[in-house]
C-alpha cells in the first residue's frame, strides 16, 4: 500500500477517536466501553473507507457529544469538529480508488484547501452558539440559522464557479 494511502487511513482511524476524546477536557471523558467500539468502527472504516461504517463512527461521536455535554459549548468542540472533518475528507480521498493507488500531491493539496475552507464554518457556528447560550430560545432559531448558512454557502460556491467558468 502506498504511503499516501497509509497516512489517509490513519487519519480515518484517528479522526473519530480524537473527536470523541475531546469531551474529556470539558470534564466528560468517554468510558472505555465506548472508546473501544468506536476505535473498532474507525478501524473498519480505515480498511473500507467507502463503506457506511465511517458514517457510523461519526454518528457515535455526535451521540456521545449530545449525551455528555448538554448545554455546554467548550473550546474543545472546535478540535473535535476539525478531527471529524479530517476523518471524513481522508476517507473520501482514500475511497477515490483501490488501496494500491497512490494519491498525487495536487489532489491532496486541493482537498486540504477545501477542508480549510469548510472548516471556516466551525468557529462561526461556535461563536453563534456561545452568544446564544443562555438566551431565551426563539422557536426555529437553529433551523433558520442553518438554512441561512446553507443558502449563503450555495450562493457563494455558485458565484465562485461562475467566475471560474468565465475566466
Amino acid at each position: 500500500m502506498p504511503r499516501s494511502q497509509v497516512v489517509l487511513r490513519a487519519v480515518v482511524l484517528l479522526g473519530p477517536v480524537v473527536a470523541l476524546l475531546m469531551t474529556g477536557p470539558a470534564g466528560h471523558w468517554p468510558p472505555w466501553w465506548l472508546v473501544l467500539p468506536l476505535t473498532g468502527l474507525a478501524a473498519l472504516g480505515a480498511v473500507a473507507p467507502d463503506s457506511p461504517v465511517v458514517a457510523g463512527a461519526g454518528l457515535l461521536v455526535l451521540v456521545w457529544w449530545t449525551v455528555s455535554l448538554g448545554n455546554g459549548v467548550p473550546v474543545s468542540v472546535l478540535v473535535a469538529a476539525a478531527a471529524l472533518l479530517a476523518g471524513h475528507v481522508a476517507a473520501l480521498l482514500a475511497a477515490y480508488g483501490p488501496r494500491e493507488m497512490a494519491l498525487e500531491r495536487a489532489t491532496v493539496l486541493l482537498w486540504v484547501r477545501r477542508g480549510a475552507l469548510v472548516l471556516l464554518a466551525v468557529p462561526g457556528a461556535w461563536l453563534v452558539a456561545r452568544v446564544l447560550r443562555g438566551q431565551p430560545e426563539q422557536p426555529g432559531i437553529w433551523v433558520l440559522a442553518v438554512a441561512a448558512a446553507c443558502v449563503a454557502t450555495v450562493v457563494g460556491t455558485a458565484a465562485v464557479e461562475v467566475r471560474r467558468a468565465e475566466s
Partner: protein, 426 residues
C-alpha cells in the same frame, strides 16, 4: 455500473449534517451544531455540483505490436467531461505484463491532464493489454460515474531478438543472390583462380600481370555469391521450465522462440530465404521468402504459436535439397529426434539447437507423487541424452543456444562437409 451515483462521502455528509442538526434541536445541545456545521456545508456544496451530462469514455494504446520488453502507453479520452474533476483508472493484471504506476492503478485531477498508464509486456505471444476499470468523480466527490469496464486491445508481442550474429557461411547455397560463397564460379568477389582466356570472357577480368608473364591472356575467376534456404523447425509440443519474461528465467519455449527469431533475422538480413515450420498445436508455417516484410511475417507467426501436442501422424516437412534445417527443440519428443535423424540420413544439412534450460524441472500435476515425477523426469533426460548421442553419431550436430556465435563452428563444419562427396539414402 454506468451512470452517475452518489458517493459514500456525499451520503456521509448528508447523514452527519442532518442527524447532527436533529440531535441539536431535540436535545438543545449547541455543541453538536458546531460538529455538524462543516458537514452541512459540505453536503450543500456537493449537491450544487450535481452532474448534468453523461460523459463518454474511450481508451486506446499507442501501439498494436510490440517487442517483449518494450512498452506502450494506454491513453484515456473523455468526451462531455465538463462535470468531471477526478479520474481513477484501475488496470487488470494480465500475466507477463508490467505496468506503471505500479499495478496500473492511477488517479488524478482532469485539470492536470488525464493520467496515463504505461504498459510493458515481458513475454512474447498475443496479449490483451489495456483492460481496466474507469471511475469519474464530480467536483467535491459527491457523484461517481462507473466504474466502467474498458475492454483491452489485442497486441502481438514479438519475441526479443537475442543478440545473434554469425560469420560462418551456410553449407549449401543454391540460390541466385545473397552473400554466401558458392562452390560455382560466377561474378562474385572471392577469388577462385586464374585460367587462360576463353571466348566470352570479359576484358575487365583479364589479369595483365599473369598474361604478360606467360605470353597468353589469362583471366581471374571468382566464386558466385548466392543465397540459401534455411528452414527453421520449431518444436512447440511442450513448454519446459519456468518463464519469468524477458530478463528473467527462460523456459524452453522462450529459448526456442527467441533463438528462432534471432536466426531468422540474421539470415534474412544476409539475403537468405528463410522458412518456418512449427510442430505444435497451431501448426504454424511460413514458406520460403526474403526481405523485411517476410521477416516480420516470421516474427508474427512465432508470436502467435500455440504450444501443445500435434496429435498422431508423421511429420512431413517438405525439405528440398540445398536447404539447411535448423531444429530448435528441447529434444524431449521422440518425433523431433526421428525427423532430425531422417533428414540427416537423406543428406540434408541439419543442425539441432538444444533449447532445454539446464535447470528445467517437470511440472508435477496435482495428485502425482513428486518423487515418482522426479524419477520419470530423470529417465526422460537419460533417454534424451541417448537421442542426442545418436544424432551426433549420424553427423547431426547438436548445440545449446548461447546467443552470438552459437552456430558458427557447426555451420563451418557443415559447409566443409558439404563439399565432400558422399553417399546418401533416399
Amino acid at each position: 455500473m454506468n451512470g452517475w451515483h452518489a458517493t459514500a462521502a456525499l451520503g456521509r455528509a448528508l447523514v452527519l449534517g442532518a442527524v447532527g442538526l436533529a440531535l441539536a434541536l431535540v436535545a438543545g445541545d449547541p455543541a453538536v451544531v458546531v460538529l455538524a456545521a462543516p458537514f452541512v456545508v459540505l453536503a450543500a456544496v456537493t449537491l450544487v455540483h450535481r452532474p448534468t451530462r453523461r460523459p463518454r469514455i474511450d481508451s486506446r494504446l499507442d501501439h498494436v505490436a510490440l517487442r517483449e520488453g518494450h512498452g506502450t502507453t494506454s491513453r484515456l479520452t473523455l468526451d462531455g467531461a465538463e462535470d468531471v474533476e477526478f479520474v481513477t483508472r484501475s488496470a487488470g493484471q494480465p500475466p507477463y505484463v508490467v505496468q506503471r504506476p505500479d499495478g496500473g492503478r492511477v488517479g488524478g485531477l482532469v485539470s492536470r491532464g488525464v493520467p496515463v498508464v504505461e504498459i510493458g509486456p515481458r513475454r512474447w505471444g498475443r496479449r490483451m493489454l489495456g483492460e481496466e476499470n474507469v471511475a469519474l468523480y464530480t467536483p467535491w466527490a459527491g457523484f461517481r460515474f462507473g466504474p466502467v469496464e474498458r475492454g483491452g486491445q489485442p497486441v502481438r508481442v514479438l519475441p526479443a531478438t537475442a543478440p545473434y550474429d554469425s560469420r560462418a557461411e551456410v553449407p549449401q547455397p543454391l540460390g541466385l543472390v545473397g552473400r554466401n560463397r558458392s562452390r560455382r564460379t560466377g561474378s562474385g568477389t572471392e577469388l577462385a583462380g586464374i585460367r587462360p582466356f576463353q571466348a566470352g570472357d570479359r576484358l575487365r577480368r583479364v589479369n595483365w600481370r599473369v598474361s604478360l608473364r606467360t605470353g597468353n591472356l589469362h583471366v581471374v575467376t571468382t566464386r558466385a555469391e548466392e543465397d540459401t534456404g534455411v528452414l527453421l523447425l520449431v518444436d512447440a509440443l511442450a513448454d519446459h521450465g519456468v518463464s519469468g519474461g524477458v530478463g528473467g528465467p527462460a523456459s524452453s519455449m522462450d529459448l526456442t522462440v527467441r533463438a528462432a527469431a534471432a536466426i531468422a533475422e540474421h539470415h534474412v538480413r544476409a539475403g537468405d530465404r528463410v522458412a518456418l515450420r512449427v510442430v505444435g498445436r497451431g501448426r504454424e508455417q511460413v514458406g520460403y521468402g526474403a526481405g523485411a516484410r517476410h521477416l516480420r511475417r516470421l516474427q508474427d507467426r512465432l508470436a502467435d504459436l500455440r504450444v501443445g501436442d500435434v496429435g498422431d501422424g508423421t511429420l512431413q516437412l517438405g525439405v528440398t535439397g540445398g536447404a539447411v534445417v535448423v531444429v530448435l527443440s528441447p529434444m524431449l519428443a521422440e518425433s523431433i529426434g526421428t525427423v532430425a535423424a531422417g533428414l540427416t540420413r537423406r543428406g540434408v544439412a541439419v543442425l539441432v539447437v538444444d533449447t532445454l534450460p539446464p535447470d528445467a524441472e517437470p511440472a508435477v500435476a496435482e495428485g502425482v507423487d513428486p518423487v515418482l515425477a522426479g524419477l520419470a523426469w530423470r529417465m526422460r533426460r537419460v533417454e534424451r541424452s541417448v537421442v542426442l548421442d545418436r544424432l551426433a553419431t549420424l553427423g547431426c550436430p547438436v548445440v545449446a543456444w548461447r546467443g552470438p556465435g552459437t552456430l558458427d563452428d557447426v555451420m563451418r563444419r557443415l559447409a566443409r562437409r558439404a563439399q565432400l562427396p558422399r553417399v546418401v539414402s533416399r
